[in-house]
Symmetry: C2
Subunit: 117 residues, 2 copies
């Protein structure tokens, strides 16, 4: 049932995906890419960050499989790949029963309160 911790050198796929999502700049980049492909310059636009910082964030997203490079060598377009987000969601869905159950119970409790009044 338990997975032994792996070496830092080879992070597992889910850890890479969640790790990539654990940063507001990277989430903002995904948000931008949700509307379509764009160049690195366009992606960097709204951030007051040095180019190496932008590149580092992009590399984390690429390693997680969330961002891919287009073929055009001139403007090197980046595109979003949604499959890893789906994987992350499949993981979370396994806990859905827990939060749904608690919401159901809270709703029931509120209804009982209202009925009492």
């Amino acid at each position: 049932m338990y997975t032994r911790r792996r070496r830092a050198a080879a992070p597992d796929r889910l850890s890479a995906i969640f790790g990539a999502l654990a940063d507001p700049t990277r989430r903002a980049m995904l948000e931008r890419l949700r509307t379509g492909v764009c160049s690195v310059t366009e992606l960097a636009g709204p951030f007051r960050m040095a180019q190496p910082t932008i590149s580092r964030h992009l590399k984390v997203l690429e390693r997680a499989g969330l961002v891919v490079r287009g073929r055009n060598a001139q403007w090197r377009p980046r595109a979003l790949k949604a499959a890893p987000l789906r994987e992350a969601n499949v993981y979370l869905e396994r806990f859905r029963a827990l939060w749904d159950d608690r919401l159901d119970r809270m709703e029931l409790y509120l209804k009982e309160l209202q009925a009492d009044q």
Copy 2:
């Protein structure tokens, strides 16, 4: 539309949640807690890790609001809180259209291939 990167000292909530999920040991702990409350010793059981390492992982989960401490001072039970997982799910759901759309197109393509044969 873009969120400026915040200081490392005050990570935003979503980053804390995704960061906590970005580790196989912490995910295994959540998995164990999914079946009910348990003591730190029970949680540490399957891992070949030093107690400080276990504590550090637990602290990350607690800071993300995923794990709470029970009141019993003797065995200090830990419990899972599902609400942050729901928040992460809400975030990911905003991308659902993208992966659903691609799956739909793939299915359509496969059907066309089969029809051609």
